[in-house]
Symmetry: C4
Subunit: 206 residues, 4 copies
C-alpha cells in the first residue's frame, strides 16, 4: 500500500468519482438517519399527541443542529475534493477514517437530544465533532503535503484556521460541560461567527 503511487484524477475519473460518490453516500445517509432519533409517540391517547410532540422539542433541536452541522461538513468536504487532483491509498484511508466520525453523528446527536442537559451527552457530542474536524484537517494537510491538491496557500490557510477554530470551540466546551452543562451548548453559537477569512487575510502572504 505504501509503495503505491498516486493516481491522477484525469484518466481515473470513474475511480475518482467513486470516492466522492461513496463519501456523498455516507454523508447523505448519516444526515437522513438523524430523523430516526425523533421518536414517534405511540401507545398513547390521541389527545396527548400535541403534548408528546412538544415534549420532544429537544429532539427537534438536535435534528436541526446536526443537520446543519453535517451539511456544513459536507460543503467543506465538497470544496476540499473539488481541489484534489490525485489520490493515493493514504488519502482513501484517511477519508474512511473521516467518514467514521461523520457516520457516528446520528448516534451522538440522538444522545444529545435525549440527554442534552447532562454533561456526558454534551461531552460525547463535542468529542465526536472535534474528531470530524481534526481528522478532516489531518486529511487536508496530508493531501497537500503529498501534492495531491491544487489548493493555493491562502485557501489552505483559511481552511486550517476554520478547522482549528471549529475544533477549538467544541474542545473548549468539554470542560465547560463538566462544570455547567447548561452553558456549554450556547458556546457552540460561536460557530456562527467565522473569523477564518479575516485571520487568513491578516497573515503575511506565503
Amino acid at each position: 500500500m505504501a509503495k503505491e503511487r498516486a493516481k491522477r484524477r484525469e484518466g481515473n475519473e470513474i475511480e475518482f468519482s467513486r470516492i466522492v460518490a461513496f463519501s456523498d453516500g455516507v454523508f447523505a445517509i448519516a444526515i437522513t438517519l438523524l430523523v430516526l432519533a425523533i421518536n414517534v409517540p405511540d401507545h398513547l391517547q390521541d389527545e396527548q399527541l400535541a403534548e408528546a410532540l412538544w415534549g420532544q422539542r429537544a429532539d427537534f433541536l438536535a435534528y436541526a443542529l446536526s443537520f446543519a452541522v453535517i451539511g456544513r461538513f459536507w460543503i467543506i468536504h465538497h470544496r476540499f475534493f473539488g481541489e484534489v487532483t490525485a489520490f493515493d491509498g493514504k488519502l482513501l484511508a484517511l477519508n474512511i477514517f473521516y467518514l467514521a466520525w461523520i457516520a457516528l453523528i446520528p448516534f451522538t446527536s440522538e444522545v444529545l437530544g435525549d440527554h442534552g442537559g447532562e454533561a456526558a451527552g454534551i461531552v460525547l457530542y463535542a468529542a465526536n465533532l472535534s474528531g470530524v474536524v481534526l481528522t478532516g484537517f489531518w486529511m487536508q494537510a496530508s493531501a497537500r503535503e503529498a501534492g495531491l491538491t491544487e489548493i493555493d496557500a491562502a485557501s489552505h490557510r483559511e481552511l486550517r484556521y476554520r478547522s482549528l477554530y471549529i475544533a477549538g470551540v467544541f474542545l473548549a466546551s468539554i470542560p465547560v460541560a463538566l462544570l455547567a452543562p447548561g452553558v456549554a451548548p450556547f458556546m457552540w453559537l460561536a460557530l456562527f461567527f467565522d473569523p477564518a477569512g479575516r485571520f487568513a487575510a491578516a497573515e503575511p502572504k506565503g
Copy 2:
C-alpha cells in the same frame, strides 16, 4: 463565504454532480425509510396476521401518499437543477435547508399514519410539506436572482404558481385540521388538480 463567486457548471462538473448526487441520496434514503413506518406485527398468533395487516391500512396509505409526495418533490428538484448553470455557497446552503425538510418526512409521515385522525398529526404533516415547498420556492427565486439558472420567464412563473398553490393547499388544511381533523386530508386531493400551467399561460408575457 459571502465574497465567494459563483462557479460555472461547466469546468466544475464533478463538484456540480456531487450536489445533485448528495441531494438524490437524501431523497432516495428518505423515500426508502418510509417503509420503516409500517410496523411488522409480531408476538401474535399466526391466525391474526391478516387482521393485523388490515389494521395497519392507515400506515399503507401514509406510505403511498408520502412516496408520491417525495417522488413529486424529487421531480421538481430534478427539473430545477436541470436548469441550473452555476452554483454558489448560498445555493448550497439553501439546498441543505431544503433537504432538511425532505428528510423530516419519514417522521411526520409515520405520525400521520399512526394518528391520522387527529389534528396534531395532520398539522405536523402539512407544516412539514409547506416547509418543503416554501424553502424550495425560496431556493429557486434566489438562484434566479443571482443569475444561476437559465430558466425562462414562463417556466419560472409556472414553478412559482405551482409552489404557491401546493403550499397554499397545505397551509389552508392546518386551520381546517384544528376544527375538523377528518376533513383536512381530503383537501390534499386538490393537489391532483394542477392549475399552475393554466394560470401561467393566462398571465401577460414578461
Copy 3:
C-alpha cells in the same frame, strides 16, 4: 405536464443520470435495509445465542431470497435503462411508482421471515413482487410506445415474456397459499427456470 416533450438522453446527461442514480439509490437502500429484518437476539444468556440464531433461520432465508430478488430486479431495471434514449414526465412518474413497490420489499420480506408458514405472509410477499413486475412491464411498454427506447423487437418480446412469467408464478402462488401455505414458496423455485428466451425465439419475427 402532459404537453411536455420528451428530452433526449444526449444533451441532458446530468438529468438522465440523476434518474438512474435516484433509482439505484432506492434499490441499494432497499436491499441493504433487508438486514434490519434479522433481529439481534438480546436479553438472553450468552449460552443461548447459537440457539437463538438457529431459531432465526427463516429470517436468514428471507434475507437471501429477497436480496436475490431485488438484485435481479435491479439487473432488469439496469438493462432497461441501458436502452432508454429519451425520457418524459410519464416515464419519471412510472419509475417512481415502480420504486414504491421495490421499497416495500423490506417490509413484506420481514413479514415473510416472521410468518413464512402462514397464508397472509406469503400472499403479501407474492402480491408485492407481482406489483413490481407488472409495474415494470407497464413502464417498459409505455416507454417503447412513446419511442423512448432503442430496444429491438426481439429483446422487447423477451422482456415481456420474462415479466409475465415472473408475475404469473407469483400470482399463481397466491391461491395456493390460501389452500396450502407450506407449498406456495416452493412454487417460486420455478423462477430459476427461465423459459423467456426460448419462447421469444420460437415466436415469428416481427
Copy 4:
C-alpha cells in the same frame, strides 16, 4: 442470460457507472447502518448516562472494527473495478452475491458487539467476513478468466494472496473461538500484517 455477450466499458459508461454506483450505495449504507448497533441509553436517570455509555464500549469497538473492515473491502472493490474493462451477466450476479455478504455485516457486527465474549458471536462474524473475501476472490478470478479485466498477472497474484490471507485468518479463528472465545478476536490483529505484497513478489514471474 448465458448467451449474452460481455459489454465493453466504453460505449456503456452509464450502465457501467450504475454498477459501481449501486455497489457504492450498498457499501455506503451498510457502513453507515453500523451506527444503529450502538444503543442509545434511555429510560434511565441522567446521572447514569456516562456509566451506560462506558458499558457500551464493546459496541464502540465493534463499530470501529467493522467500519475499518467495510472501508477496506470498499477500497479493494474500488481497485478491482478500476481495472474492469467489460462486464457480463455473470459479473453482475457475482457482484450482487458479494454485496449480500457486505450488507450482512451490520447484523453480525451488532451480534459481535453484544455477545463478543461468546463463541457463536465470533464464529458468525468470522464466517460473514470469510464469505465476503471468498466471494470477492471468486468474482475476481471469474472476471479475469472471462477477459473482463486488464489486471496484470502480478497484481492479480497479489490480490489472490491478500484474499486468501484474510479469509484464512478469519476461518482459522472459527475453531479457536469454539475452544477459547476470548482469544479469537486477537487473531484478527494479524490482518494488520499484510504479507501479500511480499509473497507475490517472491513468486516467479508469470
